[in-house]
């Protein structure tokens, strides 16, 4: 990734993260909440290894992996959409954004099937410690995906109306940053909850 790496590095003089700084304060706060949950997960798991290992087997790892692929893809599409708008290609940007949204919706659908399976089995927050964490973590994350998709939808509409350009796309960067945070959290969540034993 040599030639286009310039796309992704900040233009000279830009020393702040992409997007509005306000979103970054929010991102850090959200990451802090997830960090506490992840840390507690590890600590509690260490005390109940057998329960966690046993319960982990009842999760649908394929669905989890598929969702990882979907979120990674969505994040990639959104990154391409931002790269496109930086070059002023708003048509391409809108197409990438739409693909990103599609992948995100796909995540919700897969997760929806996963949840309905679990809820039909009578599983809830108070089933046991593992499921407490499973539901708290994934549902909290699920809601973030919903919120992220709303933001992406808004970005898409604004792009289609010609609201962003090569000179003015701070809003898109702001929304994209939030979306990547949602992706980042899942990248940690999936191996931790679904795979590691």
């Amino acid at each position: 990734m040599s030639s286009d790496a310039i796309d992704m590095t900040e233009p000279d003089g830009r020393r702040h993260p992409p997007g509005d700084l306000a979103i970054w304060v929010f991102i850090l706060a959200e990451l802090a909440a997830f960090a506490l949950l992840f840390i507690l997960y590890g600590v509690v798991r260490a005390k109940h290894v057998e329960l966690f290992n046993e319960m982990q087997l009842t999760l649908d790892r394929n669905a989890g992996a598929l969702n990882t692929v979907l979120l990674i893809t969505a994040s990639w599409c959104v990154a391409r959409a931002v790269a496109a708008i930086r070059k002023g290609a708003d048509g391409a940007s809108a197409r990438w954004m739409a693909c990103g949204i599609l992948a995100g919706v796909g995540f919700l659908v897969v997760k929806g099937f996963e949840y309905s399976d679990k809820f039909d089995a009578g599983i809830g927050l108070d089933t046991n410690l593992f499921y407490m964490f499973y539901i708290a973590l994934t549902f909290f994350h699920f809601m973030h995906v919903v919120l992220g998709l709303l933001i992406l939808g808004f970005l898409l509409l604004k792009t289609l109306r010609g609201g962003y350009s090569a000179d003015d796309h701070l809003g898109m960067e702001t929304g994209a940053s939030y979306w990547h945070m949602v992706d980042l959290v899942w990248i940690v969540l999936f191996p931790l909850v679904y795979v590691m034993r």
């Binding site: 702040h16 509005d20 700084l21 306000a22 929010f26 809830g124 809601m143 919120l147 933001i151 809003g171």
Partner: protein, 142 residues
């Protein structure tokens, strides 16, 4: 802060974030309401004495000195588990014998409760003592 930190973005994030967490909190509230029947001994409310006892508890402002499940004033003993600590007869006799009048000691007023009110109050305290409080308090002393 930098120019790329706009008030409008901060405001939108405030409104969006607030709505988001309100929804999360409401979802948790809904889930709690679904789970409560397993823990809150609501079957006992079929006995009208329990609700009547709660009125006696409230109308005499017991919470102004005591705690109930750890909430209230910290001037007098926890009463959420007093039924288990002392039993019904002691509770009634104790309330009737107040105040002790021992100089310098904390005093509880005499509330002139009728026998029915005492029975209702005991029914309420029994109900409170059987709520599943996740093993709180740590020991019977409250």
């Amino acid at each position: 802060m930098s120019a790329s930190f706009s008030t409008s973005a901060a405001r939108n994030i405030f409104f969006g974030g607030t709505v988001f967490f309100v929804l999360m909190f409401l979802a948790l509230t809904y889930d709690t309401e679904q789970k409560l029947p397993q823990r809150d001994q609501r079957a006992q409310l079929a006995n009208p004495a329990v609700a009547a006892g709660k009125r006696v508890w409230e109308n005499n402002n017991c919470i102004g000195c005591h705690t109930l499940l750890g909430e209230g004033a910290y001037f007098a003993p926890e009463l959420g588990n007093v039924y288990k600590r002392r039993g019904p007869d002691f509770i009634k006799a104790w309330i009737k014998s107040q105040p002790t009048g021992v100089p310098g000691r904390r005093q509880m007023p005499n509330f002139h409760l009728t026998d029915k009110e005492l029975d209702d109050l005991v029914a309420f305290l029994k109900y409170a003592s059987e709520i599943n409080t996740a093993n709180w308090p740590p020991n019977v002393e409250g």
